[in-house]
Amino acid sequence: MPAGVSAWTALANTTLASAANTVTFSGISGAYRDLRIVYSGGIGSANPTFIINSDTSSTYLWTTLESDSTANSSVYNGNTYGSFANNYILGYNSTGILVTIDILDYATTDKHKTILSRANNTARTVNAVVNRWPSTAAITSFQFSGGAANFTIGSTFALYGLSA
């Protein structure tokens, strides 16, 4: 196998038995180099966001390159843009969402954390997003938040640790 690819360790996985507003991976071990998080499913009429280490006060600055196919690509950046929230990852849709998130050096205490997302939904958009969490703390919890909406039944959430 290619270097690094074989080093995925499956840490946690949840399939929603009923609609839920938040899904939280907590107590994340610092034993890995990077994290990968996968969300597949749907959400009601609100863009999902994320919260790290229960930090709702920081600004998660972001930039996204995305397209809904009706126009050429758009680039947004800042911490808010229209309906896009502080910690934006993608637009909502009731089905067919796939989000993969990579967090590099998540356990280090000497740098702010970069969160790289690829979000997919053929009913809405394709995008690539980068967020920065302005904290040097090790990441020990990651929460998906539905905000004003709920994640749909059957949505799956998975957490992996990647070794160096």
Binding site: S6, A10, T14, T100
Partner: protein
């Protein structure tokens, strides 16, 4: 993540790279491809379980020297380096298919890069794809008019973790 199967194209090339009898024992699939075409046609397409119907996609493409473009598509998943490109350069793509053995329609993502030693007009593309079919995926087929020798692909299975999450 476990290697399920890998393929390396031999002398004479191949029109397809085909992974068959994929076991349903994993949670997700990841396929990585290194591809060069023997002709000037670069487009790589996918079929699942032998089907090329019921596919939809949105893709966003950046080509050096051109404004970015986006469009809807069907089975297109990327661009190989071609016979007109620098020798020994290969394009690459990765396909991620979550819950491939489940009973929902299959959403998957693709990241693709075409390589020509830094020259203009090669493509870097991100795709979101949907196969509107509830069948478990047991076969993935990639097609190009002809994959050149040394093109290669590997299919990996990803197992889910035993831990859970807090849901509220």
């Amino acid at each position: 993540m476990q290697l399920i199967s890998s393929v390396s194209v031999g002398v004479g090339g191949a029109a397809t790279i085909d992974f068959t009898s994929i076991p349903g024992t994993y949670t997700d699939l990841m396929l990585v491809l290194s591809a060069r075409a023997t002709s000037t046609t670069a487009t790589i397409t996918v079929a699942l379980n032998g089907s090329s119907t019921s596919f939809t996609s949105i893709y966003l493409n950046g080509a050096a020297g051109f404004a970015p473009t986006s469009a809807t598509g069907t089975t297109l998943v990327g661009y190989a380096s071609t016979s007109s490109h620098t020798a020994s350069t290969f394009g690459n793509l990765s396909i991620f298919i979550p819950n491939y053995a489940g009973s929902a329609n299959k959403t998957f993502s693709v990241d693709s890069v075409q390589e020509n030693n830094g020259a203009a007009s090669v493509n870097t593309t991100i795709f979101t794809n949907l196969w509107s079919n509830t069948a478990a995926i047991t076969q993935v087929t990639l097609s190009l008019p002809n994959f050149a020798q040394y093109s290669s692909a590997s299919l990996y299975g990803i197992l889910k973790g035993s831990g859970g999450a807090t849901v509220s």
